[in-house]
């Protein structure tokens, strides 16, 4: 403890009082001032510090450690230096100012430190909370994992100690072990998924997604599940739904959870309905609702359905639900990740509706695409999509449109023919099963009209009508349900082909392939390369070349076999083939031509004739 006295109760005195009054290390013995009006005196009274007008009287106390002279008077200073007790410091005006400044700074620092400490304490509290949540989660996880493990362990032991049990019983127990193992792996997967999402460790590939199309695609697989349970599954996609930007797999996960729950909790003869529309409430975005006529959720349970492991059991359920109790928690995490909303409305015993909204822009005003196309000089390729099923049509149009093509639609054969003649599209995708005039008739009519015969036609069909289609002159074929990437690829191939004739060069001698390729490119042809027979055959199917230059002696499959195999496939059987080989014997030539090659050249020949022949074949 340091004892001090202050001489002078002006501004300096006031500052010293303020600084020292709450300092436990300092005791202010007294303050001296001759002017009773001085501002610091009021302060001194508040702090109960003795006041005097005779500063020398204060010096009678021998325990003084320091005297602060803030009078600025030399005379006072002189007297103090003479009369101060031993070991006592006299600090003048400047010195006092410095001390005040230093202490002020220290106080500020302390204050800052205290603030930091407070913040750290708050963070620590939050961490503790998170830690608690984690601990609870782990304890719940361990409980959930132990449950199936218990049955596995129990029945394994029973089987081991009762080897003479009858076959039926053994089978029953093994089935339980098997099912419970599956349940265990599902649990582990879901737990990993959830913790990855929560830790932000999942890589999201954000893409433009049409939720309407996505739901349509998913519905067919759920149709099976629904019909097994004799539940009616229906969907309605409203018009003008804007695209959302999201990770497709994550949306599939949410939809899968909601759809499988809905089907699971609905009784036979019940109904599950999916609706997709644009909404502005509670947030602007695409709203998906999945409603069922199932068991419903009690009011008190509604709050917890999105919590982890919160499976609600009900008297109405004969079996315990087989899920992991994490599906909705995962869905919640995913939707929240997109700043979307997910919620449920339910009436116990009557059914539930789960909603989620993924934020999006407002729907674009419908543009009369067809008119735009006609008026505008066409820059993008125009594709006519023909399908009597509106949703299938939408699906194709959407994906083609997203790829940058202009798209027009026709919903029956008459419309298809009329639109082809009016707009002369660059490509037509054609469903072959339509009411009235069928797709094959459309192919036949268009391919026999000089004005439209060169428009490539891609047959899109559920029936395997390849042969018939190719007979009428269709150029390619794709099966329903349509795989998006296959569609895009086939369309691109067909459009390329229309621009430039495409030649496949198949030879295991890389030098020859490159040399011929170079010359053909110079002549304005597109070339594709294959270095063995198998590759040649695969590329014929995927790239649909107009001509193939084929070597005979190649690894994996020789040239003869390639010709034989391609002639068996309807899509490749009309492709022209020129054999180019070092195998210069008459029998080889005869064999190749008899299998269907157009011509036969040996590599030592003058290649001039060879190129001339190519130009002739491709016209």
């Amino acid at each position: 403890m340091n004892n001090i006295i202050i001489i002078g109760a002006g501004k300096g005195g006031a500052a010293l009082l303020r600084i020292f009054c709450d300092d436990k290390e300092i005791k202010i013995i007294g303050i001296a001032e001759i002017n009773p009006e001085s501002p610091a005196l009021e302060l001194a009274r508040q702090y109960n510090i003795p006041i005097t007008n005779d500063f020398l009287s204060l010096l009678e106390n021998k325990d003084i450690d320091a005297i602060f002279n803030v009078t600025g008077s030399k005379e006072v200073e002189k007297l103090l230096t003479e009369r101060k007790p031993e070991n006592c410091e006299v600090i003048g005006y400047e010195g006092s100012k410095l001390i005040i400044k230093l202490i002020d700074e220290r106080k500020k620092n302390i204050q800052e430190i205290e603030e930091h400490v407070k913040k750290l304490e708050e963070i620590n509290e939050k961490l503790k909370e998170t830690d608690n949540i984690k601990t609870n989660f782990i304890s719940m996880v361990s409980h959930e994992l132990r449950t199936p493990l218990t049955s596995i362990k129990a029945f394994a032991e029973i089987l081991l100690s009762n080897p003479d049990e009858d076959l039926e019983t053994r089978k029953e127990f093994l089935t339980i072990i098997n099912n419970e193992s599956d349940r265990l792996s599902r649990l582990i997967n879901d737990i990993l998924d959830l913790s990855k999402i929560e830790a932000g460790k999942i890589e999201w590939k954000l893409k433009r997604i049409d939720l309407g199309v996505l739901v349509q695609q998913m519905l067919s697989s759920f149709q099976v599940l629904a019909s097994e349970k004799r539940v009616r599954l229906e969907a309605e996609v409203f018009e003008d739904i804007p695209a959302v930007y999201a990770d497709k797999d994550s949306l599939i996960q949410v939809l899968t959870n909601l759809l499988s729950n809905a089907i699971k909790f609905t009784f036979p003869q019940g109904r599950v309905r999916v609706e997709i529309k644009f909404t502005e409430k509670p947030i602007c975005g695409v709203l998906v609702s999945v409603s069922d006529t199932g068991i419903g959720i009690k009011e008190e349970d509604i709050e917890v359905v999105f919590e982890k492991f919160s499976q609600i059991s009900s008297d109405l359920m004969t079996d315990k639900p087989q899920g992991t109790g994490l599906g909705l928690a995962i869905s919640m995490q995913i939707v929240t990740r997109y700043e979307g909303k997910i919620w449920v409305e339910s009436e116990f015993g009557k059914g539930s509706t789960f909603y989620f909204v993924i934020p999006s822009g407002k729907p674009a005003k419908k543009v009369a695409k067809e008119e735009v196309v006609v008026k505008k000089k066409r820059e993008e390729k125009l594709i006519l999509v023909v399908d009597d099923e509106v949703n299938a049509c939408k699906f194709l149009s959407y994906h083609l449109f997203m790829k940058g093509y202009q798209v027009i639609e026709a919903h029956n054969a008459e419309e298809a023919i009329e639109k082809t003649r009016t707009y002369l599209p660059d490509l037509i995708t054609l469903d072959v099963i339509m009411p009235g005039i069928g797709g094959f008739d459309v192919v036949s009519i268009l391919k026999n009209d000089p004005q439209t015969k060169d428009i490539p036609i891609l047959i899109v069909s559920i029936i395997d009508g390849k042969d018939k289609g190719y007979c009428f002159g269709a150029n390619a074929h794709i099966n329903k349900p349509v795989d998006k990437s296959e569609l895009i690829k086939k369309v691109a191939v067909l459009l390329d082909k229309k621009e430039k004739k495409k030649i496949l060069i198949a030879d295991d001698d890389q030098g020859i392939v490159k040399a011929i390729g170079y010359t053909l490119n110079q002549k304005g042809y597109q070339t594709i390369e294959a270095y063995n027979g198998e590759e040649a055959l695969n590329k014929m199917i995927s790239e649909l070349p107009d001509l193939v230059i084929l070597d005979i002696i190649m690894p994996k499959m020789n040239g003869y076999e390639v010709i034989q195999k391609m002639r068996e496939k309807p899509e490749t059987k009309n492709i022209s083939i020129i054999v180019l080989t070092a195998y210069n014997i008459k029998e080889g030539k005869v064999r190749a031509l008899s299998l269907g090659a157009v011509d036969y050249f040996t590599k030592t020949n003058e290649l001039e004739y060879f190129y001339k022949e190519i130009e002739e074949i491709l016209g």
């Binding site: 959930e144 449950t147 218990t150």
Partner: protein
């Protein structure tokens, strides 16, 4: 000697199935319940000698079932073995408070559980 009657309570049907199977093999009479409410009712009507009781069950949980049984004159003497996946110390303490006689953590070995049960009956016979 009169055959002992055992009540198995668990909302997991397979757990019930496995215990009932081994108990029957050993010649015990068995009763089962799949929730707390049913457990209380069967404990009253069936008067079992011992109860295997799960904790995490819908409606009335195992602790509550145990508490009510131990409070009731007719059922307070029934030996209660908790079978639970919650093996934490705090959970066991909670069990002690409501009068649980024994605690077995899942997953368990059915034969060991039966072994332990036999020992209990032997001890009771001596007393």
């Amino acid at each position: 000697m009169k055959k002992k009657k055992i009540l198995v309570v668990d909302d997991e049907p397979y757990v019930v199935r496995s215990l009932i199977f081994v108990l029957k093999k050993e010649g015990y009479l068995t009763v089962s319940a799949s929730n707390g409410e049913e457990a209380l009712q069967k404990a009253m009507t069936e008067e079992p000698d011992l109860i295997f009781l799960d904790i995490m069950m819908p409606k009335i949980n195992g602790y509550e079932v145990c508490k009510r049984l131990k409070e009731h004159e007719k059922t307070k003497g029934i030996y209660i073995i908790i079978l639970t996946a919650k093996g934490q110390k705090e959970d066991k303490m909670k069990g002690v408070e409501v009068g649980v006689n024994e605690y077995i953590t899942k997953p368990f070995s059915p034969s060991k559980v039966i072994q332990r049960m036999k020992e209990i009956f032997e001890d009771q016979g001596i007393c």
